[in-house]
């Protein structure tokens, strides 16, 4: 465990070295927060409530999800580059668990991002708009847990996408598809309550909602009691399924490597 904590710390430190990139990302995220907020507000000129969200919910959603944007990451992990270049061989020599190693590094990256990019768009947005999140401390705590689970689900998904590099030898295609699908079904582009019923039902049945839509709904105070527990249960289920799938695929990948060579 100590090892993975050390990896997490280094993940944090690594990303803290890119100051200019962080500031540029911060600026972009905030601008897009405003863009999304104004587009959604145009919808609320016509209707008071869409998919269970009122105008304040929708604007709050816009800024919170912008903060989340970076946590979803690209469609793949940096590991994909290492697989493509063959550097992954040096990772396999070490007595470490590759999945745990990269999860720790991703959590470190996100821990750094959350501190800045998670909060600043929200704070700037709150200067202009009336943003409203739950004030119940128990729900805030539930949100923290739900957000963490969302990050693990997102990692589990990206790890799977990354491992396809072992077979396809190039990750750009799968990564791009994964990014678009994730953005769409996670609620990043539009709250999934805005979708037609059948599409919303589909989105809720996929793991993507567990990455973003569900944690933000918790923050907006949309779920309480057994409803909230069920939501967290769904997230845990996806996290376990995707991580287990990652392990199966990883052992298949190393078997392929062992049998067929680099």
């Amino acid at each position: 465990m100590r090892l993975y904590w050390e990896v997490l710390r280094r993940g944090f430190r690594r990303y803290s070295t890119y100051r200019a990139a962080t500031l540029a990302g911060l600026f972009t995220n905030t601008v897009f927060g405003f863009l999304k907020a104004y587009i959604l507000l145009a919808v609320y000129e016509q209707r008071d409530v869409v998919g269970g969200f009122d105008a304040t919910d929708a604007v709050t959603f816009s800024f919170v999800t912008q903060g989340f944007f970076v946590m979803l990451g690209a469609g793949h992990l940096e590991l994909a580059d290492r697989i493509q270049s063959g550097d992954v061989v040096t990772d396999l020599y070490r007595p470490v668990d590759l999945q745990a190693w990269w999860l720790a590094q991703d959590l470190g990256r996100i821990a750094f991002q959350v501190a800045l990019r998670g909060c600043v768009p929200f704070l700037v947005g709150s200067l202009v708009f009336d943003l409203d999140i739950t004030s119940d401390p128990a729900l805030i705590a539930a949100f923290a847990l739900s957000a963490l689970l969302g990050i693990v689900v997102s990692f589990g998904h990206r790890f799977l996408v990354t491992l396809t590099t072992f077979w396809l030898l190039d990750y750009r295609g799968t990564s791009q598809v994964a990014t678009v699908v994730t953005m769409f079904f996670s609620g990043m582009i539009l709250p999934i309550g805005f979708f037609p019923d059948w599409l919303e039902a589909l989105a809720r049945a996929l793991p993507y909602a567990a990455m973003l839509q569900l944690p933000v709904e918790v923050l907006l105070g949309k779920h309480t009691g057994s409803d909230l527990l069920a939501l967290l249960g769904v997230q845990v289920l996806w996290a376990v399924l995707l991580l287990a799938g990652g392990r199966v695929l990883l052992s298949a990948a190393s078997r392929k490597l062992v049998i067929q060579g680099g």
Binding site: R2, L3, V7, D87, T90, G261
Partner: protein
């Protein structure tokens, strides 16, 4: 002497698909390593050379457990590498000249600290090792610089330190001096010799730089097309394949090629001529006597083949 690395009749086949006609493909089996037996004892420093595609990397991958041999047995420090890969990992260090295990964005020292946790090295042991290697490799001036700012030579020294911090019994080096300047090369070689001599680390070195082998290795294993074609000392290989000598003569004035029985003029450059002969057929004294009998000689010297020539001849004759 106890063997740390044993390969017994090891082969490794790869299946490749070859296009045959428009849609049909044919499965072809290619032997990357073909029936190699090799034994390396504790404390040896062995050069493992061969042309590109000869099977060097495949051998190294089998020795680390990343590849399973198609037939034969491999034992490293008594372990089956593929079955006990994790256990073996803490007994070996690996450096690839073209890859790095250091964290690109972080200070060098950060990668070293992390390795303590990767290999669960006790803190005092780690500290002592780190101090020793930092001194030997002169890492101190850039220990706190991010790895991306290091020169290739500095990074390579960092990677060497990283590979040795957990006290491995064996060090595999894949082209550790590739791309380094003369000074950096010398420093890396000096360090390897020292680690081998003082710490008793067994070193297996693959390289295309034969001066590495000549300066460092007591033993040289040459493979080609998956076969071991030579296993012995550097001196032995020179006598075996390096039978030729060249007499270089500077004549008083330029003239036609000399005619010397048993020797052949391989180059003429004005008054200077190069005569190659086989030691087994004629002696240097006889060649020189014949030259002196035909022309006035101002200066002469005898050249031994360097290992580069020897190996080129082995590769091309194979």
């Amino acid at each position: 002497m106890t063997a740390v690395i044993e390969l017994d009749r090891v082969s490794k086949d790869f299946v490749v698909m070859r296009k045959k006609g428009r849609l049909r493909r044919e499965r072809m089996t290619v032997a990357a390593v073909d029936d190699i037996s090799l034994r390396i004892d504790t404390g040896e420093l062995v050069g493992y050379i061969g042309p590109n595609g000869a099977g060097k990397s495949t051998t190294i991958k089998m020795l680390t457990g990343i590849l399973v041999p198609s037939s034969g047995t491999v034992r490293v420090v008594g372990l089956d590498p593929q079955r006990r890969r994790v256990e073996l990992a803490s007994r070996i260090g690996v450096v690839f000249g073209q890859r790095t295990q250091l964290w690109w964005d972080l200070p060098l020292i950060d990668s070293f600290d992390l390795l303590r946790h990767v290999y669960r090295v006790p803190a005092d042991r780690h500290r002592a090792n780190l101090r020793r290697f930092v001194d030997l490799l002169e890492l101190e001036p850039f220990l706190h610089s991010p790895v991306r700012q290091l020169s290739l030579g500095q990074r390579m020294r960092g990677d060497l330190c990283a590979a040795l911090l957990h006290d491995p019994a064996i060090l595999y080096l894949d082209e550790p001096t590739i791309g380094l300047d003369v000074v950096s090369k010398a420093r890396v070689r000096e360090f390897l010799a020292q680690v081998n001599r003082d710490e008793g680390v067994t070193i297996l070195l693959t390289t295309h730089d034969l001066s590495d082998v000549e300066r460092l290795c007591s033993r040289l294993v040459v493979i080609d097309h998956g076969h071991v074609i030579h296993d012995g000392t550097v001196a032995e290989i020179k006598t075996m394949f390096g039978d030729t000598r060249t007499v270089v003569v500077d004549l008083e004035e330029a003239g036609p090629s000399l005619v010397v029985p048993g020797a052949e003029v391989v180059e003429v450059d004005g008054p200077r001529q190069w005569l190659r002969f086989r030691r087994s057929e004629v002696t240097a004294a006889e060649v020189i006597a014949a030259v002196v009998g035909q022309a006035r000689v101002r200066d002469l010297s005898i050249e031994e083949p360097d290992i580069e020539d020897v190996v080129t001849r082995i590769y091309t004759s194979g």
